[in-house]
């Protein structure tokens, strides 16, 4: 694993717990990952796998209570974001790290103009005057491909279509020229043709601006098209992590494999019957002592039920998996 010096963001052993009436839910369990400058890290997983919660935990965006970030370290620009002041955190949020959320319909404040919502971070973090912020806001809208940007600053979110709103969200996230952009399912709520537009836009912006991106999604298709590296999450843990082609070509975790098999394609041969992963994802009321996927895993053996597998590096560079089973040998790994 690369050391922190070459990473813009380095997360170690993050652990987040939700306190609910029926007890504590361990949503994120010892998650570690890093983000290199300019790279796009795709984070894949089903709902409840902890992918969004992990990212929200980084910058204290989870409502507390009920959420509580228990352990871990988040190194960003030389500071641990989990131990710094609330003020410092705020100066990072929206300035150095931008966020784009899933539902552009609800993520913008309906009663303020798009211009107001764009100016806010500019005035706060960059100290721009209102008119300077307005000018920059128009440039940003222009950048994300909204026609007639200057005039549209005076419009309210509901006057934009879903795709346009997501462009506005991206403009807000990019307002202060962040080093990192965290995009939480940014295209899930959009139609495929609009999704294609947004993906195209992001590719383009990466080239222009060069920020690192964490892209959370459940759609492996999107990941295949956009990511440099992929992290597969399950049960609040990282199941597998690999460069994108390596992951699709040589998935090491039974869950990754199952996931890939489940997805129908629009091209190529059509399977007669869809593959399914039987059962339901777990809700963890305790810190996992066993592999969280064991109950649904065709490869599971006794060790999986006793021990939670650590992340084990595999043959290819930068590929690791949290599984005791080795598909290459068809036998348990020797670790």
């Amino acid at each position: 694993m690369p050391d922190g010096a070459t990473s813009v963001l380095d997360v170690r052993d993050l652990k987040t717990v939700f306190r609910t009436r029926s007890g504590e839910v361990h949503a994120v369990n010892s998650v570690s990952f890093h983000l290199r400058p300019g790279e796009l890290l795709g984070v894949v997983g089903e709902s409840g796998s902890g992918k969004s919660v992990t990212m929200m935990s980084l910058l204290g965006l989870l409502p507390s209570p009920p959420a509580e970030v228990r352990e871990g370290q988040v190194m960003f620009e030389g500071k641990n974001l989990l131990r710094c002041t609330e003020d410092h955190l705020r100066s990072v949020r929206g300035a150095r790290i931008g966020f784009v959320f899933q539902d552009p319909m609800t993520s913008l404040n309906p009663v303020f103009t798009v211009g107001f919502q764009l100016r806010e971070p500019l005035m706060k973090h960059m100290g721009l005057s209102k008119s300077a912020a307005q000018k920059r806001a128009a440039e940003l809208l222009d950048l994300v491909g909204i026609p007639d940007a200057r005039r549209r600053l005076g419009d309210f979110p509901h006057q934009f279509s879903g795709g346009m709103r997501q462009r506005v969200m991206i403009a807000i996230a990019l307002a202060c020229d962040p080093k990192v952009l965290i995009a939480d399912e940014p295209t899930t709520a959009l139609d495929v043709t609009i999704q294609a537009q947004i993906l195209e836009l992001v590719r383009d912006l990466r080239q222009k601006l060069g920020m690192a991106i964490v892209w959370i999604t459940h759609d492996l298709g999107v990941i295949a098209g956009i990511a440099d590296r992929v992290m597969v999450m399950y049960g609040g843990q990282v199941a597998e992590q690999a460069p994108v082609k390596d992951l699709f070509a040589n998935p090491q975790h039974p869950y990754t494999r199952a996931l890939l098999r489940t997805i129908p394609h629009v091209t190529g041969a059509r399977a007669e019957k869809l593959n399914v992963i039987e059962g339901q994802p777990p809700i963890l009321y305790r810190h996992p002592e066993a592999c969280p996927f064991a109950a649904r895993c065709p490869q599971a053996f006794d060790r999986c039920l006793r021990q939670n597998p650590p992340r084990i590096p595999v043959a290819a560079a930068g590929h690791d998996v949290a599984c005791f089973w080795d598909f290459a040998t068809g036998a348990p790994r020797d670790v």
Binding site: S91, F99, P121
Partner: protein, 335 residues
């Protein structure tokens, strides 16, 4: 918005005509006699003559049409006359109260100031204390502040004002002697001394009514804030690095105020309706007391006019509430 307003005003006309007819009819059908409070020593022949003098020998529909003409034609003319010194309404019969033998509108104008002062002030005070309480209660949901607020507003809402009013009189007027138990409607504020007396006599009725109003509105405010605190755009605002005061008092509050403002607007007509019980308890003798004494005295012109004005205000403030909604919420566009 303009056509919407015009259309609503146009549809209000038949509505109000029906309302006025229904009120008139109900009052007509209600048992009772305007001369019932005259002593039994007044002989029947004299009573009969008094009834004729009141116009009670006319059939129902004639009296209704006469009232309509007086309300919609003569009274407005009379107002114009008194404003511009013209004499359009000269010689025309205004709506005359049976109890006072005086024009109903003169008495209403006379009563309006004390009602506005006490009931209006109570509403204003109620709103002003309700909003911060609602905001803090919601932001710190289930905190001790919220629990106390919930308890107090439950009390304020459920304990009737004739109880709290008399309790306050017994404590503060009878035992402590701080405030007068009887409101002096003739007091004119001319200097510091009379201002202090005015404040002293307003304290108790305003406190009683404000508690009641605040209980209601703070609950609305709290519920509305809670609804909005969980919205996605709040997370967006935090992700932009906005401080908590900005997040709560700008982003959340503006949205939360939309339903609350309409509730507040809808409550305004109740000010003009007066507070029948509280006015009786503190002898404020405003519009509420005017209405209740008119009902007791079977003073049909007064009851009819007051209830109809009240109906007009309700219709009007419903419209105002709708317009406010449209103004506050850019998503709502009438027409």
């Amino acid at each position: 918005m303009l056509t919407f307003t015009l259309r609503r005003l146009l549809t209000a006309i038949p509505t109000l005509l029906v309302i006025s007819f229904v009120i008139f009819g109900l009052l007509e059908l209600a048992p009772g006699d305007p001369l019932a409070d005259q002593p039994l020593t007044v002989p029947p022949e004299v009573r009969e003559k008094m009834r004729v003098a009141l116009g009670l020998d006319q059939p129902f529909y004639i009296r209704y049409v006469l009232w309509l003409k007086q309300f919609f034609w003569i009274e407005p003319l009379y107002t114009i006359d008194s404003l511009f010194g013209t004499s359009f309404a000269e010689g025309e019969q205004r709506i005359v109260s049976w109890q006072f033998r005086a024009p109903v509108f003169d008495v209403i104008w006379q009563r309006l100031p004390q009602t506005m002062w006490v009931v209006g002030m109570a509403y204003l005070v109620g709103v002003l204390i309700a909003l911060p309480i609602g905001i803090v209660s919601a932001y710190r949901q289930y905190s001790w502040f919220d629990q106390v607020g919930t308890f107090v507003s439950m009390i304020g809402f459920s304990v009737p004002t004739f109880f709290t009013g008399v309790l306050m009189i017994v404590i503060f007027a009878v035992n402590l002697g701080w405030f007068p138990s009887i409101y002096d409607t003739t007091l004119r504020v001319t200097d510091w001394e009379s201002f202090k007396r005015q404040v002293a006599q307003m304290v108790m009725p305003v406190a009683v009514l404000a508690l009641f109003n605040a209980s209601q509105i703070s609950r609305f405010m709290r519920a509305s804030m809670l609804d909005n605190l969980n919205q996605d755009y709040v997370r967006t605002a935090r992700a932009k690095g906005m401080t908590e005061p900005v997040v709560v008092l700008t982003h959340v509050l503006r949205n939360s105020m939309i339903p609350v403002v309409t509730v507040i607007a809808l409550g305004v007509p109740t000010i003009f309706g007066g507070a029948i019980i509280t006015e009786q308890v503190f002898k404020v003798n405003g519009l509420g007391q005017l209405l209740i004494t008119a009902i007791y005295a079977n003073d049909l012109p007064m009851v009819q006019t007051l209830t109809f004005i009240f109906a007009v205000l309700i219709v009007l403030f419903n419209l105002i509430a709708d317009i406010l909604y449209g103004l506050l919420d850019p998503r709502i566009r009438y027409d």
